[in-house]
Symmetry: C2
Subunit: 364 residues, 2 copies
C-alpha cells in the first residue's frame, strides 16, 4: 500500500446527458450504466482500493448524495466523504480536498479522478498512476493523464505536448497547450498531427505543488480555504465550507491552474489503458455487449427488423418489442420513456432543460 | 322504441393486432382505443340504446369477459349476456343468440354487429339500420351493411352488388358475390369498378329468415341448437351451451350462410355513415386527433424532430420524450413496451405468437 498517496474522487456531477436514467436526485455515477452489476462510483472506488489505503481515498460530492455514497460504498467513513453545499466546478472541489489532506499529510501525493469513467486494463492504469505519483513526489510538477485520441471528437479538451528530442523516449511529456472543445475542423487537425491527447480530467500532483499553484494562479480561492482551514475536521466544518463555497466562483482546475501554469511544470502521461468518460449514451453503446444485430439491450427484449439500438430498462421484467427501429436509444425508467435517435443524443441536454421548464424539477 | 327489433353485439374477439394494449385477458373492445373516455363496447352499446329497448340488446362474449361486460355495461342484465365457453367464429355465436331470441320473440328483427367498430354519423347509421330492419320484417331477406371503399384494402371482404336497372335508384341492392380478402391487384380492380362494397360484418334479418337459412345451409349447426333449445333460459343453459359448442365447427356466417345463399335473398345497403373496423393501430391513428406534426399522443409527450407517431400510454402521468422518431406506434402498458414502425404493423400478430411461445400466456 502506498501510504503517502491519496485519491480525490469527484462525484458531484449530474450527468444530464444520461437523462432520464441519470436524475439530479440519482445521478449517473450512482447507476450501473454499463450493466456490469456495479455502479460507476463503486467500480471507481474498488479500482483504487487495490493499492491506495482506504482512508486515503476521499469522495467529494454534493451533500444531497451523502446517503447514496454511504449506501454504495459502505466501507467509506464519514471523515472520507467531503460534502459540497453547492457545485462550483473542479477548482473549489480540489482545493477543499487538498486542504483536508494537508491536515493529515502535508507531503501527500494526490490523484484527482472522476467517478464515472470507464477504464479498461486496470493494471496498465495502475502503472500510469503510480508513475505519475512517483514523479510528483520527486518534482514540483502537475501531471495529467492524456488519452490518445481515436477520432476527432469535439466533446473533449485537447492537450498538445512538446515532442521529445530525437532519440529520447520519455514516459511523459511537457504540455504545450490546452484547448477546450475545438470545432470539428480543428479536432481533425489535432488528431492528424499526432501530438495531441484528450484531457481525461485526471491530475496528479504533490500537495505542496498544488497548494503553491492555487496560491499563485487562484489566490482568491487559496485565501478562502486558508481562511477556514482551522475549522476543517471540527464540528464547524460544514458551516465553514458553506461559507467558503458561498464565496467561491465557478472555476475549473483546467482554466484556473493548468492553462495558466502550462509553460512551466505541467506534464502529460499518454495513457496506456483504454478509457472512456462515457459522456453520452452513444459512448456507452460502444462499450457494452451487442448482439449480432448490434443491439445492446438489457431485460426481456424481442427485436424484429431492428439493429444498433441501445435499450435500458429500469424494470428488468418488462417486455420490450422493437419492430423496424434502428440506431435508437430507448430508456424506460418507469416514470419516463425516452426514445431518441442516436445521432440526436447531443440534444438530450436541451430536452432536460425543456422538461425542467414544462414539468418541473421532479422530472430531471 | 322498436320493440320487435333486437341487436346481437358480438364481443368475444381478442384483438391481437392491438397487442400489447389488447390482451386475451382484456381485449380491444373493452379499451378506450380512441381516447374518447369510453371503451369501444360502451360506445357500441350506447349507440343502440337510443332506439332499441335495452332488454333487446344481447351481448355475446367469451365467458371469461363476463365481469368486464358487467363492469363496463352495468345496465345489462345477466339474461342479456350470452357466454360462450370457447370462440367458434360468428356462425355459432349468431345461432346461439338467434335461438335465445326465438324464446322471447319468434318474429323478431335482428341486427348483428361487432363491438369494436368506429361509427361516425350515428344518425345516418340509425337510418340505415332502421331501413334494413323494416325491410327484413317484410321480406325474407338477409341484408348486410356495405361500406363504400376508399382504398384497395386487402384486409376486408368485398361484396359485389347487381347494378340496378337504368332509372332505378333503390336504397339497397341484391348481392352478386362475396370475396374474402383479395390480393392487391384484385382489390384495385374492385375499387375501380364501383360496384363493390366492403363487408362491415353487420347483418340484418328476421328470425324466421335466419333460422331457415341455418336449416338450409348449416343443418348441423341448426340441429345442435334445436337439440338444446329447451334448456336455454334454464339453470342448464351453461351446460347445454358447453355441450353445443363442443360439437360446433369454427364457421363464419359469411362462408356458412351468406356465400351459399347469395343468389337468392341477400341484399346490401351501401352505408351512408362513416365506418372503420379499427382493425389496426394504423386505422386508429387515422381516426384520432393529431397535432400539427401528425403525432397522435395521449399523456405527457414531448416531441423533437418527430412526426406521424401514435403514442398510447397506460400510465397517463408518465413522461414520454420522442427525438428523431417518425411513423411509429409506441404503446406502453406498464408491463410491455412496443415500438413498431407503422408499416410493420401487420407483423404484430406474429409478434404475439412469438411472445406467447417465448414468454407464455401471461404476456398475450
Amino acid at each position: 500500500m502506498r501510504k503517502n498517496d491519496f485519491v480525490i474522487i469527484m462525484a458531484g456531477g449530474i450527468g444530464s446527458r444520461f437523462w432520464p436514467m441519470s436524475r439530479s436526485s440519482y445521478p449517473k455515477q450512482f447507476h450501473d450504466i454499463l450493466g456490469t452489476g456495479k455502479s460507476m462510483i463503486r467500480m471507481t472506488y474498488e479500482r483504487f482500493l487495490e493499492y491506495i489505503p482506504r482512508e486515503n481515498i476521499l469522495i467529494v460530492t454534493h451533500r444531497r448524495y451523502r446517503d447514496l455514497v454511504k449506501t454504495q460504498l459502505p466501507e467509506v467513513q464519514d471523515s472520507e466523504i467531503l460534502l459540497e453545499p453547492v457545485g462550483r466546478n473542479t477548482a473549489p472541489c480540489i482545493a477543499y480536498a487538498s486542504f483536508k489532506i494537508r491536515q493529515r499529510n502535508p507531503q501527500a501525493n494526490v490523484l484527482v479522478a472522476g467517478s464515472d469513467y470507464l477504464i479498461l486494463n486496470t493494471e496498465k492504469f495502475r502503472k500510469d498512476v503510480e508513475l505519475g505519483l512517483d514523479e510528483a513526489s520527486k518534482e514540483p510538477v502537475i501531471i495529467t493523464l492524456g488519452i490518445p485520441p481515436t477520432r476527432p471528437d469535439t466533446g473533449y479538451g485537447y492537450i498538445q505536448f512538446h515532442e521529445p528530442e530525437e532519440g529520447d523516449n520519455p514516459p511523459y511529456f511537457q504540455v504545450k497547450t490546452f484547448t477546450e472543445k475545438p470545432d470539428l475542423e480543428m479536432a481533425k487537425t489535432f488528431l492528424n498531427s499526432g501530438d495531441f491527447l484528450w484531457n481525461s480530467g485526471m491530475f496528479i500532483f504533490s500537495l505542496p505543488t498544488i497548494l503553491s499553484a492555487f496560491e499563485a494562479y487562484m489566490p482568491d480561492l487559496y485565501d478562502i480555504f486558508e481562511g477556514i482551514h482551522r475549522r476543517l475536521d471540527t464540528d464547524e466544518e460544514a458551516a465553514a465550507i458553506e461559507d467558503a463555497y458561498s464565496r467561491c466562483r465557478n472555476d475549473s482546475i483546467d482554466t484556473g491552474v493548468m492553462e495558466k501554469a502550462q509553460s512551466e511544470n505541467i506534464y502529460v502521461i499518454p495513457a496506456s489503458f483504454d478509457w472512456s468518460d462515457l459522456g453520452t449514451w452513444g459512448s456507452v453503446y460502444e462499450h457494452v455487449d451487442q448482439d449480432y444485430l448490434g443491439n445492446a439491450v438489457s431485460g426481456n427484449v424481442v427485436v424484429y427488423d431492428s439493429t444498433s439500438n441501445l435499450v435500458r430498462m429500469a424494470d428488468q421484467g418488462k417486455l420490450v418489442v422493437l419492430n423496424g427501429l434502428n440506431d435508437f436509444i430507448v430508456v424506460d425508467t418507469g416514470d419516463v420513456l425516452l426514445i431518441c435517435k442516436k445521432e440526436n443524443e447531443q440534444g438530450i441536454k436541451g430536452v432536460v432543460a425543456d422538461v425542467r421548464k414544462r414539468f418541473g424539477e421532479d422530472w430531471v
